[in-house]
Symmetry: D4
Subunit: 171 residues, 8 copies
């Protein structure tokens, strides 16, 4: 099965955050590919990756980077596919503000679909919701995922109401 | 033609920003609908809107709001379609930071595809890029749109190189 | 005794902060209820909770959440009872700024009585001061609580003045 | 009729913001008083005001100030009534951040119910919701106020759907 | 010898920071007093302290507090002596921003001489420089203190130049 | 009469802010001098100014600058007199944050008594309070100044209570 | 004469800021070229520009951009010449913070020499100081430029000391 | 061989950051000197250092400091050589913001080439790129350094593609 989602990151150190996107896509049953592409260290590789994505059947690109994070925006400049940006709170980032602003504040014409700081999992979910808008089977799974979120909160609420917060705090 | 993109905003005062999304979709030839839905003032209307979007054929929802902006996130909670959030620098916003953070920083499980502050046009482009990932005709138009952006910069560069910056500054 | 204060939180992980509100109400002798209600994961449960609060005899709702924290504001949209919001510095929050701004900066018409970051105890005190404005017995207890705060500082001052700061620092 | 809400501000220049609280209370039919009390320029007046509020029948105090805004917190230190704080973006404030943080971030034991920057009207609404939690007549009026908010958005939505956004933007 | 500098803090937890002011004054030979005075928990004690300071021979007051830090500003409101404010990064502070802004941004008429975050030692030095402007003996000691700072850097530089940075890093 | 306070600023464009310090000192009757000294453009002039201040009889230096504002801190490095720093929101400043942080956050050993952004008048008052701590005549005038602040607020309060806020807002 | 400095900007709207760099280089007598190169709209043009700069004799590249400003960092990725970045406070920038952070916070290996917000002139001066480090004639002119800065401040000081600040403020 | 780059820092505690600049210059083969020079504690030493740098053959000065970091800017005021500033996140810094702003936001006429927070290595690379613009041998080494960066990312990508992210995460 051809990958529908391409997951890339600026540095291998972003992997713990970005792996959560892959994990979600795997669970929901969407084929993906994952690799390292650096805007600053491998610009040609970035151009090749973004330029060939559509013809390789990719529908959505998920790109994560930290600090002055140029990868998501540059990839969005190089393809007309939707690009999801994950601001990573990397070791050289100032509490994540630089990562967020350099991904979010793209100029008119070149949007990046930015998710929360370190939001690798949410990037995977967003990519899946895009696929799910067009593939009914995935759409149904996404609805089921939402139901699962609800049930987990309801269980948590039931438990806290039954046992009382003092008991729960001990855990 | 059924609308494929739903554009909503928390208040009519957000219209100048959000109309740019509609304008782009119109130009690119994607059917859309546009209305006012307030998370805080019309919660039931929001629930109805988000709950029925998929069955009405909507593929992407674009939601804009300012200040403590809950509309995009709440809509994302109420549908499994992709939701694009536009932080609006409304009159009650603190330089836009509240709008951005209350849309971007969604908890795990409920992503919002956030674009730049007042990025109504970019939201329209992002929505179109999603449609264009699945509809080849739109995909081609998006590629042409990118080419247009490039050509406009090249013209601007040619002009500045030919006439010199002193001449250009006079304009 | 019917609960007069409803304490809710967006996630069980907020419990250590929110339990301090419950603890204070217990000490001051005000009946309360405490449970988990998520704006994003259980929207219908939130609507039911907020919609029935007044008729169930609730006078004040205390709601805590972190990141893009929509629970306090959405509950304030769904009831005309006073709602106290507790910004929680949750694991996905950017130093608490997102939590604060998405609770505090509510639009005109839908206020949330926001307390300090992680101010669970202060939320309990504020709820008690509201009850105490109408129930003289609680009002007297609140005055006594204030006296207690004063006495504790006076004791601390007396000790530091008597023993000297060098001695105190050793502790 | 004795005033139930006391509205104070640190400087007459805060009046345009704080008058909106008075305006709302007048419309909803709650008696109030309004005056200038400065923590820094009239500390004794502040102590007298806060100290006598409860016995004068005041149920809620609304206090607004800007910059290093100490009035709301100091009043909260001097009474056990609920105190609503309005951060004012005064001429000497840094985009309102100082006003917000010096009102919101009160230490444990002394909460201030903080509303949005320049949120005078919201402070009035919050005060009314407190009164309305105990006076059924006011409670009903607050419900009606909420209904009014909803209807206004619905009208706005109907108009924009009927006339189209292009027509609306012309206005 | 009568104390010339009064050191106060809002909470005993501020002692590690504020003790550095006392330590410096002791070394330079200026009599001081040190105690706990809380603006929010012991307002009357604060008024008494500030009101009697001048007649007790105090020349400068050093006041430290964290979060919504009102002590320095309120003391400055209650005396016409110079007041030095120390923003403390207390446990409830948001990275110190609230402490800084609520001490620094005082309205016109009521200045507080603010030093750096957690700058207890600098507050002591500043107090000593004020005394030293009027007492030549202290002035000379302050000059000697400056010389000491210089010599310490020169020694450090000599060592690093002689041994090389690789050797120094090993330490 | 020899000047007791030296007022300096990094650029003539800071004069509107810094003149307020001079104005206050004139009113309170303290001799001062005022000139332009730039840390970055006239470093030697700065060294001469700071180095000779004590022997010229100066008791306090007031230094204002904007952006990366080094003048107050460098002057404090070059004299052991107390130095008051005024962060100026100059045309090249980012909302004043750079001015504030580069004056306030001085390293251990070299304090600057920082006042509020654009707080020229407060710098003058603080300088006068230092002089007033040692010169009883000035001390009495400072007390009278405080009384004047109080009376002005009391008049404002009396007027608003008498005429009502609606009347006052019309002005 | 071959250009030694290349000045580029992401959009023609950055010209008023970037022209100041050109203006300075012209005055100091360093040949330069100036054009528009957009990272997001003309990525290939950017690659060609940066890739050929060294062989065309360019010694320093000055690149300005606003918002999520990727041009300076991407150019620095594509050449090993020194790159000076000018954060521009463009219309879509959040008070310049996005421009600054996305230029300044480059990852290890790819520095950008960042100057102040809108610091076009300073970028020109920095470029000239680099040239001046290797070309003695330019070095002497840079020293003369510094002398000019000093003399201008001294004149301003002389005037203010002679005429008094009241006279100067009238201007 | 005469040093071509001068590395200075405000305090020995900055050495771990600044040593990375020295390390890089050593690897690339550029002679340098490294010592401690404090703007605030050894102003005369700073003046001597900066004033003699050009005649001693220095081409670039790299200066690092934290908090209210005046060293880079003051050195830039005292020489017309290019000065690279390294904002250090020292123990007294507020998350690095003070260090960054007091180095970056220099007034017109006195630029500092600012690199990322704690960017000691990048400062070394930037200094080397300046040298490399004029010395072809260094220029070639800088190109090779860039190639090395690229190869390292390509290896990392190859490994992650081959082994899969699950295997890589285990490491």
């Amino acid at each position: 099965m051809n990958p529908q989602v391409g997951i890339i990151m600026g540095s291998q150190s972003d992997l713990p955050v970005m792996a959560e996107a892959a994990q979600f896509l795997e669970e929901i049953g969407i084929a993906y590919e994952l690799t390292v592409v650096s805007a600053h260290r491998t610009p040609q590789r970035m151009i090749d990756y973004a330029g060939s994505a559509r013809e390789r059947g990719i529908k959505v690109i998920v790109a994560g980077a930290g600090g002055a994070a140029h990868l998501p925006g540059m990839v969005a400049a190089l393809t007309s596919l939707p690009v999801i940006g994950v601001p990573v709170k990397s070791s050289n980032s100032i509490d994540g503000w630089d990562s967020i602003l350099s991904i979010l504040q793209m100029p008119s014409g070149i949007p990046v679909a930015t998710v929360a700081l370190n939001g690798g999992k949410n990037a995977g979910i967003l990519a899946a919701s895009i696929v799910g808008a067009y593939e009914p089977e995935i759409g149904r799974k996404m609805d089921a995922f939402k139901t699962g979120l609800r049930e987990k909160v309801e269980e948590s609420a039931a438990q806290i109401e039954e046992k009382g917060w003092k008991e729960m705090l001990k855990k």
